[in-house]
Symmetry: C2
């Protein structure tokens, strides 16, 4: 199946580049309420599913035992930019669990946000594992291991009890079979599993609505999503897409990006969850796609919808600030 062109990038009066992709919106019962492209194809959710991966942090009792704040829970679901507040918060989570950064197995990298990287270059010799965009998720993993009585060593491995627990949670939420065949290795070394885009969206719709979940899992899901919406800076960072999206309409949009052009969102008022994948893995397109898809679910004429449409169809400027073209979504997503 051919995925449609969902985003065009113009220059002058020509289209310079085109992005294809798929997009789906699903309710708690699994009904598809919008779809474009091959939404049954397997997609690696990458970091977009971090809130799912954080469920054992709540369900194990670790979040309560270590009195994790909303900021800390948001950071456990985050792909942060490595700003000072992110790094300090991750360090604090590890300290509560009786560990320090030496326990982390995510690797280290400089920030991919330019302004943060400039700050890091001026204040650090080199980044540590705490600066890794996944350090909050990994610090949550350590809390879960300690609370569950699991030796954290090797916690990123497919056979570690933590990853087995995450696999079971994600399989129940998405309805997909997660095994060695569908498994790849993520940037931070944990397993990532290819799931149909519809299954990914349905999993978030279940988390959002609690439909088909135990009361405990429904409550844990709500707690994580509410923490992210309450502390959007801790889910991403300054000027980042997830943070900006959750600031557009506080409490009305949960959103999380993943590498290679994946983006998910969940809308509490509408009871639907959304997932997009840009076929070529480009963030600029995935961002426009999720902005436009979310906009469909807000009232025509509302400020939220107008803001989202303006984010989806945005001008591009050059180094002198001159308007040179636009990024715009096609009518495959928003007519």
């Amino acid at each position: 199946m051919q995925n449609p062109v969902t985003v065009e990038v113009t220059r002058g009066n020509r289209v310079e580049s085109r992005h294809r992709g798929m997009a789906v919106a699903v309710d708690g019962a699994g009904r598809i309420v919008f779809s474009a492209g091959d939404v049954e194809a397997g997609v690696f959710p990458r970091s977009a599913c971090k809130a799912m991966q954080a469920l054992p942090l709540i369900e194990s009792g670790a979040a309560d035992a270590f009195t994790l704040s909303a900021r800390e829970l948001a950071l456990a679901c985050s792909s942060h930019s490595g700003e000072d507040e992110h790094v300090a918060t991750a360090a604090g989570m590890l300290q509560k669990a009786g560990h320090d950064l030496s326990v982390l197995e995510c690797g280290a990298h400089w920030s991919s946000d330019q302004q943060t990287l400039i700050h890091q270059a001026r204040t650090l010799e080199r980044p540590t594992a705490l600066h890794n965009n996944c350090s909050g998720k990994h610090s949550g993993f350590i809390c879960t291991c300690v609370q569950s009585g699991w030796d954290p060593k090797g916690y990123v491995g497919y056979d570690h009890p933590l990853q087995a627990e995450i696999r079971a949670v994600m399989q129940a939420l998405t309805g997909a079979v997660l095994d060695r065949d569908t498994c790849g290795t993520d940037g931070c070394s944990i397993p990532t599993y290819a799931v149909p885009l519809t299954g990914l969206a349905h999993g978030f719709a279940r988390m959002l609505t609690g439909e088909g979940l135990s009361p405990a899992r429904a409550a844990a899901s709500r707690r994580l999503m509410e923490a992210c919406m309450a502390e959007p800076f801790y889910v991403a960072g300054t000027k980042r897409a997830c943070t900006r999206l959750m600031e557009v309409a506080p409490g009305k949009i949960f959103a999380k990006t993943g590498a290679e052009g994946v983006f998910v969102a969940a809308l509490p008022e509408q009871g639907v969850a959304l997932a997009v994948k840009c076929e070529d893995g480009t963030s600029r397109a995935a961002e426009s796609m999720i902005y436009a898809l979310i906009a469909r679910f807000f009232e025509p004429g509302s400020e939220t919808r107008d803001t989202l449409i303006a984010m989806a169809n945005r001008p591009l400027s050059n180094w002198n600030g001159i308007h040179v073209g636009d990024i715009r979504v096609t009518d495959a997503l928003f007519a």
Copy 2:
């Protein structure tokens, strides 16, 4: 016309992302010797055509009048990383023409190369126009203006005599009509014109072979391409694709990238020029495409061909250095 998938990005045993694109190889007479995708569609060459834009620097007599070195000529054709040597060389060119960086109209930006940006952040308050990746091209423009008796002010504008001259040169080389309709504004504020990919490749094939050119233009073309091949660091920078490509087989490959997934190359021994455009504008795909397309023109079993194939089909590692997948070209480009 549907462009084929030319590059796949894998994770585990799945394809995670796909890039489509077009590719063409043309000889000096304009014969198409390889083609994939819609190679007659208009494409903005962006920085890929800088060697064409530098022809007036030679033809005006400025290069001789200001005794420009091979390094300076290479920098005039470059999209450099803003490393110290690039910045100093651009400043030297301006000084020879009796100007300084205040004459530049390209705007300023931090390096897009991470290691260079870290160095810049530690040594600079902020970048200047000399750090702009186009500062070598613009310094060449200033030399041309001074030699030609044109006031440099407004030299980036469509109606300035410099841009009119560049337009005439590029129209003659590519055979395309360059006018306000096909014109967009580039990142550094000069005009960029949509031309068919075949026309872009034919233009470079003419520069390479001299076919259909005046002796003076043929000599100027050869001089610029030879300068780039002799000083590949000054065309891009440390670890950059253009620099690495021209180091694979010194004197046998001219190569230049442009924004939004364009890449051109010219092969002196084979007398052909190549141009690719990744439909979605992604550099990783454009790089694999040009590596594979160049490889087709070297002998099976040769070191050059094997090196290029290995560059085109390369492993991807995560933050811990673990092999997580591959970038690979499809048989649309290389069977």
